[in-house]
């Protein structure tokens, strides 16, 4: 009697409402077995919140996006989707028959410029090209 219940539960999982229409080829991999689907989040990195405004002149903060949820190949918890995608693309090249092609590839990156004081009160303007994730392959 217990077994039929389990089978029913699996079906139930597959029928989860798909909260993100644009899932990648991991469609079922993302949402199987009670796992939270990988979804895109917007995060505003506020230099004010970080208490940096005594040395950061501009900007006040910047918007970045990241994936959060259950990805099938999360290499460790310190990576956001950008690094995750880059690493998986490399592994796919090495083991194409085992590791599927990556879907979380950043599709749009933009530069960020930061103006801040260094320890000697010199003012520094730094431009980081291709640094802020604007969109990734998951979505």
């Amino acid at each position: 009697t217990a077994r039929p219940l389990k089978k029913k539960k699996l079906n139930q999982v597959n029928q989860l409402p798909n909260s993100n229409k644009h899932l990648g080829i991991f469609d079922d991999g993302h949402g199987s077995l009670d796992r939270e689907v990988c979804r895109r989040h917007e995060l505003y990195v506020s230099f004010r919140d970080l208490g940096w405004l005594d040395s950061v002149i501009a900007p006040q903060g910047y918007s970045a996006y990241y994936c959060a949820g259950e990805c099938i190949y999360p290499l460790n918890s310190c990576m956001n989707s950008t690094n995750h995608a880059t690493m998986q693309a490399l592994v796919h090249l090495m083991k194409p028959d085992i590791v599927p092609k990556v879907c979380c590839v950043p599709t749009k990156l933009s530069a960020i410029s930061l103006l801040y004081y260094d320890r000697n009160n010199n003012v520094i303007l730094r431009r980081e090209r291709n640094m802020v994730v604007q969109a990734c392959g998951c979505h």
Binding site: G29, V45, L50, I57, A68, N120, L125, E128
Partner: protein
């Protein structure tokens, strides 16, 4: 339309990304984006002492760099640089009135903060000039040299950098090109950069830079002299000699 791909669940350890405190995630994103670590608190300078000329100039550069419309005033050197550093002078020597000629003004900059591996694409020394009436309405030649070697018993070794000609009544920011000194300062990272400024009249007489209207460290905060370096990350930080 997704196809079922064979999955090898044990290729990588299964970790949950999970949902974090925004501050943790901000720090994580900052580290991944390569933004500098949490800036250390700056050496306390009373606001009244803090030069404002360099920050104001750099803020204009920041707006020009982030302005995609392209409507702003053109900023030479900006488009090729990834890192722009401004330095305020730490020491200022004057050999002016009361000394025998030639009169000069000397500025020293601490450049130890320049990150390794950066190639200089351009460097400028900026000093504000007020209108001067002695002598009135005459042509002045402003020349800038790098102090290569200071000597206690005789004149220092100097290296010519730039010459600008203007009128004694002119006012505004004077920009002197000091890019030629960059090779040396990158090779001697720990040595201060010394810049010396001379003013001569049309008939070759040396003039006190202060009398010519050139402002030094005692100027109002928004008009104090500073230098700016434009850098680009490169494997060979030293420019090929021309």
């Amino acid at each position: 339309g997704s196809s079922h791909l064979p999955r090898s669940p044990h290729v990588f350890p299964q970790h949950r990304l999970g949902v974090r405190e925004p501050r943790d995630m901000q720090r994580e994103i900052r580290e991944v984006l390569g933004l500098p670590g949490r800036p250390r608190s700056r050496a306390p300078l009373a606001t009244a002492q803090q030069p404002a000329s360099a920050p104001l100039f750099m803020l204009n550069l920041y707006h020009a760099m982030t302005d995609d419309s392209g409507n702003g005033p053109p900023q030479p050197h900006l488009h090729r640089a990834d890192l722009i550093m401004s330095f305020v002078n730490i020491v200022e020597h004057d050999r002016t009135l009361g000394y025998q000629e030639p009169h000069w003004k000397e500025f020293h900059f601490d450049l130890t903060q320049i990150p390794a591996g950066e190639a200089v694409t351009a460097a400028e020394f900026r000093i504000y000039k007020e209108p001067s009436t002695h002598p009135p309405n005459t042509t002045l030649h402003i020349s800038m040299f790098e102090v290569v070697q200071e000597r206690s018993n005789r004149e220092s070794d100097l290296f010519f950098l730039d010459l600008q000609t203007l009128r004694s009544g002119d006012e505004g920011w004077l920009v002197l090109d000091i890019t030629a000194a960059s090779d040396r300062w990158l090779l001697n990272h720990n040595k201060d950069l010394g810049l010396r400024l001379y003013v001569e009249t049309e008939d070759g007489h040396s003039l006190d830079p202060g009398l010519a209207g050139l402002l030094g460290q005692t100027a109002p905060r928004s008009r104090q002299p500073f230098m700016v370096g434009f850098f680009k990350a490169s494997q060979s930080p030293v420019r090929a000699p021309r």
